[in-house]
């Protein structure tokens, strides 16, 4: 029972309260709040325009919300200085973009892409950086002999795995993911899902993942938040929300998925 007690007594890693972002009179997201605990994966689903991407960019510090609080490990992130915020984005936090081109430097070698983030948090020993980069390429199943190739020579799936390696090399505690399997073939998606699940479990990462793919959240997310018109309409255990949805919109969303 000790494991269960540990899981329940731990403090939230990320605590979000009343987060609101407006674009003029239009609402991006409104009144969003949740707690994310260490090792937990939170999925955010909703159709295009539901506010899920706005929410993610506010959470990850890419946009400043108009109202609300974001506490990371108890610290008020919105009150951080620019230097503190940058340190957070390079170290404890990571962001995996839907399009790997947005998260990688396409003109720099694969090893350089991974090593660069390490250097940003102060690593200086070339041999140690290269060793760490090689180790991470291996973990995301990129052969060691591709370390000096540029990502432009990689397939879409490989680029996405490289982006994940670049993000995780600094040992972040919180990872934001925006449609990480979007734009990939189904077989490549499966490989990426398997990889992500293993990394989350082995490293104890906390993850906020935005997607419109209910199959992806079923396999990856512990908890699910359903958004519509900028607001959270339902949240709960992933399988409970998908199998016994309570809100009209979630019922529509779940029943609209084609069965395969």
């Amino acid at each position: 029972m000790t494991l269960m007690q540990n899981a329940i007594t731990a403090a939230p890693l990320l605590s979000v309260q009343g987060l609101t972002k407006r674009y003029g009179a239009r609402i991006g997201c409104a009144g969003v709040g949740f707690d994310l605990y260490p090792g937990e994966v939170l999925g955010i689903v909703g159709e295009s325009g539901s506010g899920k991407s706005t929410l993610l960019s506010c959470l990850a510090g890419h946009q400043r919300p108009d109202e609300g609080r974001i506490l990371f490990d108890g610290a008020d992130v919105l009150a951080f200085s620019e230097a503190e915020r940058r340190r957070l984005l390079r170290g404890d936090w990571a962001y995996v973009h839907q399009n790997p081109r947005d998260g990688l430097r396409m003109g720099v070698s694969a090893g350089g892409n991974v090593g660069e983030r390490l250097m940003a948090v102060g690593a200086r020993n070339y041999a140690a950086i290269r060793e760490s980069a090689t180790d991470w390429l291996g973990r995301v199943e990129i052969a060691a002999d591709r370390i000096d190739d540029r990502p432009s020579a990689f397939s879409g799936g490989m680029q996405q795995r490289l982006q994940i390696a670049r993000n995780l090399v600094t040992g972040p505690r919180l990872v934001f993911m925006d449609e990480p399997t979007g734009g990939l073939d189904v077989s490549v998606q499966a490989r990426l899902l398997d990889l992500l699940r293993g990394l989350v479990r082995d490293l104890g990462l906390s993850v906020v993942i935005v997607t419109h793919d209910l199959a992806v959240v079923r396999l990856l997310a512990d908890r699910l938040m359903v958004m519509k018109s900028g607001r959270v309409v339902e949240c709960g255990l992933t399988d409970q929300v998908l199998d016994d949805p309570q809100h009209a919109y979630t019922q529509l969303l779940v029943s609209s998925v084609l069965q395969v």
């Binding site: 494991l3 269960m4 937990e40 396999l219 908890r223 709960g236 255990l237 409970q240 009209a248 529509l252």
Partner: protein
């Protein structure tokens, strides 16, 4: 170990005129350590609905479901996740896994999530797969391409990998041949012997007679409701 009191449930179909369908009311049930209780009742009577509520997969309308000190009806998602990891196992009829993950890993995963060292978790998985007659040459492959019976046995191996104090079994012997059925019944008997509380649905009458200590007819929980 499992105690259900005055449990009720209804489904509201918002996209079909908001019609509310009550499916259960006043359900009472208790499963003690080392005991196996079988749910019976005709098809559609609510056996699976009750099991799903116990697992936290369906939201209950009212009442309580206490398992090892936690009330599943009012618990936070993370409390239910912790319960599922350590206390409450579930063997469903269908295997749902990430494609590409080898069978041995699928079976070892519940132990890995609990922090069991990988070699120990894999050894336990290998032991169960061997007992359930899954040929060793298949262990490195994903079970998604296996036959129905093989998938069912992988699912059972996964469900029995960790010694859960409480177990939910949904038709664990369906689609199994006599030899494998016998292995599964032995696994259930062993779980009871170590003190597990088991709640199950068994259409296989012989299996029911052999492992169940009591039967509960769920029709009594739905009487008078629209069905």
């Amino acid at each position: 170990m499992i105690e259900i009191r005055n449990l009720s449930k209804s489904f509201t179909l918002h996209n079909q005129g908001g019609v509310a369908i009550p499916v259960m009311a006043g359900a009472h049930l208790r499963v003690d350590h080392g005991e196996c209780v079988g749910l019976v009742g005709r098809s559609g009577a609510g056996k699976s609905t009750l099991m799903r509520m116990v697992y936290g997969n369906y939201l209950a309308g009212g009442g309580s479901i206490r398992i090892g000190g936690l009330d599943v009806v009012t618990a936070e998602p993370r409390e239910i996740l912790a319960l599922r990891r350590a206390v409450l196992g579930h063997v469903s009829q269908f295997l749902r896994v990430v494609p590409r993950v080898p069978t041995l890993e699928v079976v070892a995963e519940p132990l890995l999530r609990l922090g069991t060292p990988a070699p120990q978790a894999r050894a336990r998985a290998a032991d169960l797969l061997a007992r359930l007659n899954i040929p060793e040459r298949l262990w490195a492959l994903s079970p998604t391409t296996f036959s129905g019976g093989e998938q069912q046995r992988v699912n059972i191996a996964r469900g029995f990998a960790h010694d859960y104090p409480a177990l939910l079994l949904d038709e664990p012997t369906a689609s199994l041949d006599a030899q494998n059925r016998e292995v599964v019944l032995c696994l259930i008997e062993e779980a009871k012997a170590r003190g597990a509380a088991i709640l199950g649905i068994f259409h296989d009458e012989g299996a029911r007679e052999r492992v169940c200590d009591r039967l509960v007819d769920v029709t009594g929980f739905t009487r008078g409701l629209a069905a």
